[in-house]
């Protein structure tokens, strides 16, 4: 299978695999540092535009929404829930990618994860920030949202833990805190690295964040233990978050929502959009940041794309599972709802969802060459994300049109949610851009650790890559 140009298998392996293409640590450090420092004017133009969009969406528009009322959005009876919740689910979905890659792949020792765990984890944290924004945008009286927190008060009135929204609050809080901690723990050695090679304000910044890390045996041991605990414990947290998000819908007495499969269906959907987003981010990072072509290689895209294909299949499986049970049940409201999905005025969205989430990934990702092509994967990732956003849009505002009171059915027409949603997208990208100049996007020590563990071994005539278990 190997390329004919390379007669030397080692050279071939080196080119293909980051893990077999080791560089001195110091050189890698310098590359990562340089990638943070190299910023063109284009970066600042884009950042400025995003800042303006974020300010309009999250500042101006949100102010108006708070001061004037939810009526600025497209919500009404029966569509009490609109794009804000679509975006909440969407961003929580995006946030699942980081945890999936850094926790699940770590637990299963998938080595190709190493260079981009941090890039994915940053998405988790920043995605959750947007999810938080979106859910607070949705609230009619957001200035009283602290009432949802369990805190002792003189009336001894605690939140209602019967409500899936209360669970959501607990779950999202837990997830936001733990994913941020999980982002930070492996960052400490890299912060120390950056501290050692910085001056000025950056030095102070990294020094504070490095917490005084030196790399002593004790520090490494505590860190490694903690990361192991996190890697295992954050997986159920991640699953619980999106399951509980799905319960916001599944617990309701509404046709189409009351489904036991919603939990795993939502989790897999979250991974679907999350992986799509990771691949997009990696393609951009690889294409725009200095030295990133060394760290992020087609093999990584190929690995993620394989996951994407599997997840797409799983999503299709869950979708059909949900669909056929609803369809077979024959409840007249559910039937109407399915008909509304497919043949209603927003039917195009339903078909687009299936094409973007199933047809396109399946028809492209089966091919190894295609799935190793970053720009193609970027497009696939983008379409998957559009498709998954459509899926949530169909589940929320389109589905709530149909209830058991046909006299009230109405079609949702979005209002201020649109600029505000765009604001969250812009703010997400802006946060990511700023982070890419402040945080070493590549966990250098993890890459080095991996490179130490990988070697080439000859079995008979064939040279293969082997990994030694160092931990």
């Amino acid at each position: 299978m190997s390329d004919k140009k390379h007669h030397n298998p080692e050279e071939h392996f080196r080119e293909q695999h980051l893990m077999l293409d080791p560089m001195p640590r110091g050189q890698m450090n310098d590359m990562v540092m340089e990638s943070m420092h190299t910023t063109s004017w284009k970066f600042w133009v884009v950042a400025a535009i995003l800042a303006v969009i974020s300010f309009i969406g999250l500042g101006v528009d949100w102010y108006r929404l708070i001061m004037e009322g939810q009526g600025l959005a497209g919500v009404m009876r029966p569509d009490y829930w609109g794009i804000f919740l679509v975006n909440t689910v969407f961003w929580i979905g995006i946030s699942h990618a980081g945890t999936f890659i850094s926790a699940i792949l770590r637990v299963f020792k998938a080595e190709f994860r190493r260079p981009f765990t941090r890039a994915a984890e940053l998405m988790t944290t920043f995605g959750l920030v947007q999810a938080g924004f979106s859910i607070f945008m949705h609230m009619g009286r957001v200035w009283l949202s602290y009432w949802l927190m369990p805190y002792p008060n003189q009336r001894q009135l605690w939140p209602n833990f019967h409500s899936p929204l209360s669970w959501d609050l607990l779950a999202i809080t837990t997830y936001l805190l733990s994913s941020t901690m999980y982002l930070f723990l492996p960052l400490i050695p890299d912060m120390a690295m950056a501290r050692d090679r910085s001056t000025g304000w950056r030095k102070t910044f990294y020094k504070v964040l490095a917490l005084g890390f030196r790399g002593t045996e004790g520090e490494w041991a505590h860190l490694r233990t903690a990361m192991n605990i996190f890697a295992f414990a954050i997986i159920p947290v991640m699953f619980s978050v999106h399951t509980i998000v799905s319960w916001d819908f599944a617990m309701a007495t509404r046709p189409g929502w009351s489904s036991t499969i919603f939990g795993p269906y939502f989790v897999i959907g979250a991974l679907h959009s999350g992986m799509g987003a990771v691949v997009m981010v990696l393609a951009v990072v690889r294409g725009t940041m200095k030295h990133m072509k060394y760290f992020i290689r087609p093999e990584h895209f190929e690995g993620i794309a394989r996951l994407m294909l599997i997840i797409s299949m799983a999503w299709a499986y869950f979708f059909f599972n949900d669909y056929i049970v609803q369809w077979y049940g024959g409840d007249k409201w559910t039937k109407t709802l399915l008909h509304w999905h497919e043949a209603g005025p927003m039917g195009w969205m339903w078909f687009a969802m299936l094409i973007f989430n199933i047809a396109i990934p399946w028809s492209i990702l089966w091919n190894k060459k295609w799935r190793s092509t970053p720009w193609l994967l970027f497009i696939v990732g983008l379409l998957i994300n559009v498709g998954m956003w459509f899926e949530r849009y169909i589940i929320v505002p389109i589905s709530v049109t149909i209830n058991r009171m046909p006299f009230t059915w109405r079609l949702y027409q979005p209002g201020i949610e649109v600029p505000m949603g765009i604001g969250t997208v812009a703010f997400f990208i802006l946060l990511y851009m700023l982070a890419s100049r402040l945080v070493p996007l590549i966990p250098v020590w993890e890459v080095q650790e991996g490179q130490m563990a990988h070697s080439l071994t000859k079995f008979g005539r064939e040279t293969v890559m082997t990994v030694s278990e160092l931990e």
Binding site: H339, A343, P345, T401, M405, P406, F407, T408, R410
Partner: protein, 715 residues
């Protein structure tokens, strides 16, 4: 006896308070005068949380339903029906409920105003002394024959005062008119009664005692004559006697709200109601056996059914039920009367009742009247307008009616008004007519007023409903009666009443000695107190089924204009003639279409399909007299050759909630009248033109859920 008591003490005595069941005993309050006191001196009943209740009369239409107004700290909070009033027995309609939004409406005329016929409400406020002087100058300046009064439908104390005043001056008697009286065809009803029973009275259809009711276009559950009373009757009909549910059939070309609750709604060709009534009479008479009444003898049932576009079988089924019934009843009303053959149609239905019904009566006369005094018919109004146009009238006083809106444009009221030197409006609201006036001297709102009003139908009692202020005037208004009395005094007309209250007492005086009334009092002050406490005075009336001359009844064909579609204008069941200024009425869904805040055009879906129009397409409706533009509502229950438009919107003034909203179908009416002088507005035919515009109607209903729009299940 001359000791003054405060107005509030007086009201307190008069109020139907929760604990005032132990009423005044005998002697009554010591004085008839009421003084106003500042609210700094708080009487105990204005304490927090304590409500005071006042019985008064609803003035949203002319039915004279009794109200009990709940007030708290000087504000009117809620109105409920007055359980004592025989017309409504404690019930109200949607319009009555929102009367408070008229009282506290932001757009009321807040002070006497020198309007000067300005386009908008002019800001030049006057004081009331000058206002009275202005009226008095007019009374002095013009000859009696040059002065005219135009008033609302309701026969109230102010009408009596104006009658007395014009009588004293030698001027022509005040004219009463309202759009509702035109749509109700009161002249036609009275004329037919005159011709059949020798009495020009309004009919009283006693639904409560009937068990099978057939209605020919009567919208008696909506706005017609006395809707609350008829709804009460309908309820009794449905509850039935001996647990047998009463049946109700409706013949009409467009399903009205009334028709929508019928057991069978049968679409017929407009103008054939009389013919169908006669055919039904023939079938019933045949079914019952015995002699064939002369009225039905000559009608050909098959031909009638065909002409009316009614399935013969349906006619037979209804006739069978009607014949079987113990107490059948036929009602006529609505557009059926507004044809050239309206009087004959009415007579045909009356004949049906005369032959078979024991639930049909002529309304008892109101207290103090010896004949039904109906409001002016459209024809009489047309003559009145011609008089205005001729310049014979130099000063016109307008109260309680908005002819610039309520009279069809074709009668030319606005143009005629230009030939009147001085127009004085007593409108509480800056309606179209008020803006066309030289002066607006706003009267109190009904809930701020003293007064009384005669009820003409809806009860088996002779009812004089009483009004009293529930609250002090909210803005700087003055009772029109006081203005007229003061001006008359200044102008030197000999008039025995010092003020409005004295006038009312003077008029009530005649009922003090009458026995058998709803209460008895030894003298007028006590009588007045009871009158206000109970919200009026009434006397049981023995309803007697009228005897008809067994003459032949014709059913001539109705005359129509040239045109493509029959037009059925109907009074909006929620807005009525004057509800458009109340935001909550605007937001109350029309019962049949659920449209809010606007005017729509009802078109049969098939017709619309042929015309190539859809829901919410704006179409132009063109008649010989005019044209209007409104959005289409695909209405499933309307004949394909009929379009219908509600009346009630289309104001150019009348406050922020009414102005510039919807259209007025009366603009389409020509000036053709039936034999009784009522406008034959149902004879209008129109054509429908596409405009290419689209304006979405606000509906409470879902087009998706109700009509399957977007679900591929459309009409």
């Amino acid at each position: 006896m001359t000791q003054k008591i405060s107005r509030r003490d007086f009201l307190k005595l008069a109020g139907v308070g929760a604990a005032t069941t132990a009423v005044l005993t005998g002697c009554g309050p010591a004085a008839k005068f009421v003084t106003r006191q500042p609210y700094l001196k708080m009487p105990e009943y204005t304490y927090n949380g304590e409500s005071t209740y006042y019985a008064t009369t609803c003035r949203e239409c002319a039915a004279a339903c009794g109200l009990v107004v709940r007030t708290m700290q000087g504000r009117a909070i809620k109105v409920e029906g007055n359980k004592a009033n025989p017309v409504n027995l404690g019930k109200t309609c949607a319009r009555g409920q929102t009367t408070l939004q008229g009282l506290y409406n932001p757009d009321r005329v807040t002070a006497p105003t020198k309007q000067g016929r300005a386009k908008d409400l002019s800001g030049s406020a006057m004081n009331w002394d000058d206002a009275v002087a202005t009226v008095s100058d007019i009374l002095k300046k013009y000859k009696a024959s040059e002065i005219a009064f135009l008033m609302g439908t309701a026969p109230d104390h102010l009408f009596d005062l104006a009658t007395d005043l014009t009588g004293a001056m030698g001027a022509s008697a005040p004219v009463r008119y309202g759009a509702l009286s035109m749509f109700e065809g009161r002249a036609t009803l009275a004329q037919a009664a005159q011709e059949m029973f020798g009495q020009p009275a309004l009919p009283f259809f006693d639904l409560a005692s009937a068990d099978v009711v057939v209605s020919f276009g009567a919208n008696f559950l909506e706005t017609w004559v006395s809707p609350v009373a008829y709804t009460r009757g309908y309820s009794k009909l449905r509850k039935g006697h001996d647990r047998r549910r009463g049946l109700f059939f409706q013949f009409e070309a467009r399903m009205s709200q009334t028709g929508s609750v019928a057991d069978e709604w049968i679409a017929l060709r407009p103008g054939t109601e009389g013919l169908v009534a006669l055919a039904l009479g023939k079938l019933v008479a045949e079914a019952r056996g015995g002699s064939m009444p002369k009225a039905f003898a000559s009608v050909n049932v098959n031909e009638a059914a065909e002409k009316a576009g009614v399935e013969l079988e349906a006619l037979h089924v209804i006739a069978e039920e009607f014949a079987k019934a113990n107490a059948p009843l036929a009602i006529v009303g609505g557009p059926a009367l507004a044809h050239s053959n309206g009087v004959e149609t009415t007579k045909a239905v009356y004949a049906l009742n005369a032959a078979f019904s024991s639930s049909f009566f002529l309304s008892p006369l109101a207290p103090g009247e010896d004949v039904y005094h109906r409001p002016a018919s459209a024809q009489e109004m047309s003559e009145f307008v011609k008089k205005l146009e001729s310049g014979a009238v130099k000063a016109l006083f307008i109260h309680g009616v908005n002819p610039a809106f309520e009279l069809p444009k074709s009668l030319g009221f606005e143009a005629a008004l230009k030939n009147v030197e001085t127009v004085i409006s007593f409108a509480t609201f800056p309606d179209e007519t008020a803006l066309l006036s030289d002066y607006i001297f706003p009267d109190h709102h009904a809930l701020e007023s003293f007064g009384y009003q005669r009820a003409y139908t809806g009860a088996n009692a002779s009812v004089l409903s009483g009004l009293q202020p529930a609250v002090t005037p909210f803005v700087d208004t003055k009772a029109t009666a006081d203005v007229l009395l003061a001006a008359a005094a200044q102008a030197g007309f000999p008039f025995p009443y010092a003020d409005e209250f004295a006038f009312i007492q003077g008029k009530l005086q005649q009922f003090v000695p009458i026995a058998g009334g709803s209460f008895a009092a030894p003298e007028i002050n006590a009588f007045t107190a009871f009158f206000q406490q109970f919200g009026g005075w009434w006397k049981q009336a023995d309803l007697v089924a009228p005897t008809a001359s067994n003459g032949a009844v014709n059913a001539p064909e109705a005359e129509f204009e040239e045109g493509e579609f029959f037009l059925i204008p109907f009074v909006s069941p929620t807005l009525g003639e004057a509800g458009a200024n109340k935001p909550w009425l605007q937001e109350t869904a029309d019962p049949t279409t659920t449209v809010m805040w606007n005017t729509w055009v009802e078109i049969n879906p098939e017709t619309a399909h042929e015309l190539g129009v859809e829901n919410d397409d704006v179409v132009k409706i063109v008649s010989a007299a005019g044209e209007v533009e409104a959005s289409v509502y695909l209405y499933p229950a309307i004949r394909p050759d009929v379009i219908a438009i509600p009346f009630g919107q289309g104001h150019t003034a009348y406050g922020q909630f009414a102005a510039g909203r919807g259209v007025n179908p009366a603009d389409l009416f020509g000036a053709k009248f039936n034999a009784a002088g009522d406008l034959a507005y149902a004879g209008v035919k129109v054509r429908v033109e596409k405009t290419g515009k689209k304006q979405y109607l606000s509906r409470l209903e879902s087009k998706i859920g109700v009509y399957g729009e977007g679900l591929g299940e459309e009409h």
